[in-house]
């Protein structure tokens, strides 16, 4: 929980955004994130993000599910409560495979959704700072993290030269926190103006 200083640049065109990302990275600024209204193909490569390891996590959730199902049914049907079902052996592997499969899918799916939400910092009852409301509508919002030494005016001018429609300086919480939008500080200060 630490407040940080951010410079925000808003773009309305992918074709402008991509060269701007490249320029910002070559200039050595630290990209905090880019918020886009839709998934932009190739932006992760342009930003230099590493490949996600979500699928590796998914694999491990999956084999956890398989192991759980297999060991659970094996224990129940061979040790705890052996039943004669249609004269089949107690250890009736073919009959259990559908269940093992289902539990694999269930563990992998639920685990991956929760991990995904954690990585994206999404959850009920938690809050995250919005840098620009139109990031959910039609603007590509590039957020650059500043250090003490960053000359923010230079940076804003640099972004404008790279094609940003508007730039902004914000001091905001970088992480998520417990709270709700209707009780905490109003996220969009100009809310009343829009209503009026």
């Amino acid at each position: 929980m630490a407040k940080k200083k951010f410079v925000v640049g808003c773009f309305d065109d992918e074709a402008v955004l991509f060269p701007a990302v490249k320029k910002v990275r070559t200039a050595g600024y630290k990209l905090h994130d880019i918020y886009t209204p839709f998934a932009v193909h190739g932006l992760d490569h342009a930003m230099g993000l590493r490949e996600t390891s979500l699928h590796t996590a998914g694999f491990f959730y999956g084999i956890t599910g398989t192991t759980t199902a297999l060991s659970c049914i094996t224990w129940i049907f061979t040790k705890d409560w052996p039943l004669n079902i249609g004269g089949k052996p107690h250890f009736a592997l073919p009959a259990w495979i559908p269940i093992c499969f289902e539990l694999t899918v269930l563990f992998a799916a639920v685990g991956m959704v929760l991990t995904f939400c954690y990585l994206c910092q999404l959850a009920p009852f938690v809050k995250k700072h919005h840098f620009h409301a139109r990031a959910t509508d039609d603007l590509f919002v590039m957020v650059i993290e500043c250090t003490d030494k960053t000359n923010t005016d230079d940076l804003r001018a640099f972004l404008s030269n790279s094609g940003a429609l508007e730039t902004d300086l914000q001091i905001a919480e970088a992480d998520w926190w417990v709270g709700s939008y209707d009780k905490d500080e109003v996220p969009f200060e100009n809310k009343k103006e829009i209503a009026a």
Binding site: P94, A95, P98
Partner: protein, 409 residues
């Protein structure tokens, strides 16, 4: 565009390999013919014919799966396959060739007057057998010959019409109107092929050609199972040819992104094949009805036990564990290895499907099987290379080609 290498020149060593494989295959065929084919023992004869039969059926269906790939991607309005579509097209030119071999072999089997492979040909036995009598509307000589002829002829013709249309993309650029018309014609011809494919490979042909070797047994899953076997092998064959052509410096527009998607098909359909394998197996295992378990008796508990489960390991566990990672599907070496493994695995699968019924008591896998396999591989290499050389390698005026060039997985 001018720098594209459109003309494939068949390298000398590829031809040498092809001829060598064909020569080995012919020697094996002749040796098998004199040793078993002319044998007094009818069982030996049946083994010889069965060996040729499963090989020729396997390769016909695999090459036909390449045309199926073209057709279903066309119907799905796919653009990504355009940069290498001439490869599956070239593979599908094998359908008339292997189809004719299959046709001759099957007609020889049904007209030879022996009933060791197809028991239902024995009319005297069928009359006494209420189960076979009930099936005689489907399992009879006339329908077998009629449907086999029609199936092979229509696969060849409809596939030829599809390839013929594809050649139009070499001549001149389309404008909006002629381009839309071209795409529409493609979908029409692809749907015709797929409708016929569903009626044959998707249902009746595997029942007729292979399941009827054990005429008392039936499984509605069997055709899909066979079809998936051939589709996975077909995708692997396409992958092998794509990688070969890339290694020789052709197919400039095809890259890792396309390989990744071919790898996905190999991975996904391997899983689907296993799903069908298991569904067929588990229902019969669970019900445990003698007339259904007869098929699995020789395979799960008899001589074919080893092959049956080995088959499951290389066709399911290996693709599952090795092809699961994204990096593996984008790695040329690993995809080559897996493609060879999958082709071999499904060839073994066809082997046990056919020979497990013809020779129930002992496994016949030996020099004859590998010899006949090399005959078919040699023919496949030779004729696919010739088909590739006869056409431009990239359909450069295809309306969807750009989609393939910028393809990103």
């Amino acid at each position: 565009m001018a720098s594209l290498k459109q003309q494939f020149e068949i390298p000398g060593n590829l031809k040498t390999w092809a001829y060598a494989l064909i020569a080995v295959g012919l020697v094996a065929f002749l040796a098998g013919f004199f040793k078993s084919g002319l044998s007094k023992d009818e069982h030996e004869q049946a083994i010889f014919l069965g060996t040729i039969m499963y090989n020729t059926i396997f390769w016909t269906l695999v090459c036909n799966a390449a045309m199926f790939f073209i057709c279903f991607t066309t119907l799905a309005m796919g653009g990504w396959q355009q940069s290498f579509r001439r490869i599956p097209e070239a593979i599908s030119t094998m359908v008339p060739i292997f189809g004719s071999i299959t046709f001759v072999v099957l007609l020889y089997v049904v007209f030879s007057g022996k009933h060791d492979i197809y028991h239902w040909l024995d009319t005297a036995a069928v009359d006494k057998d209420p189960i076979l009598k009930g099936k005689s509307g489907f399992l009879n000589l006339k329908f077998f010959v009629f449907w086999t002829t029609l199936a092979i002829a229509l696969w060849s013709i409809l596939g030829y019409r599809m390839r013929q249309l594809s050649s139009e993309a070499d001549i001149q650029a389309f404008d909006n109107v002629s381009g839309a018309k071209f795409i529409f014609q493609n979908t029409v011809r692809a749907s015709m092929f797929i409708a016929w494919f569903g009626l044959t490979v998707g249902s009746t042909i595997p029942w007729l050609w292979m399941m009827s070797i054990t005429p008392h047994w039936y499984s509605t899953m069997y055709s899909w199972y066979t079809f998936m076997s051939s589709l996975v092998s077909g995708m692997s064959l396409i992958a092998l040819w794509v990688i070969y052509m890339k290694n020789k410096g052709y197919l400039e527009y095809t890259n890792q992104e396309h390989l990744h998607d071919i790898g996905k098909f190999m991975f996904a359909f391997s899983i689907f094949w296993t799903y069908l394998w298991f569904s067929q197996y588990m229902l019969i295992w669970y019900a445990n009805i003698p007339e259904e378990t007869v098929y699995f008796k020789s395979r799960v508990q008899g001589a074919y036990k080893g092959i049956f489960f080995f088959n499951l390991i290389i066709n399911f566990l290996c693709p599952l564990l090795i092809l699961m990672k994204k990096d593996a599907k984008r790695n040329y070496t690993l995809v080559t290895f897996m493609a060879v493994l999958i082709l071999f695995g499904h060839w073994i699968d066809f082997y046990q499907m056919v020979m497990g019924s013809i020779s129930k008591d002992y496994v016949t896998l030996g020099w004859l099987d590998f010899g006949i396999l090399s005959l078919f591989v040699g023919l496949m290499i030779l004729f696919v290379a010739k088909a590739l050389a006869s056409k431009n390698l990239i359909p450069k005026y295809h309306p969807f080609l750009k989609e393939s060039i910028i393809h990103h997985t």
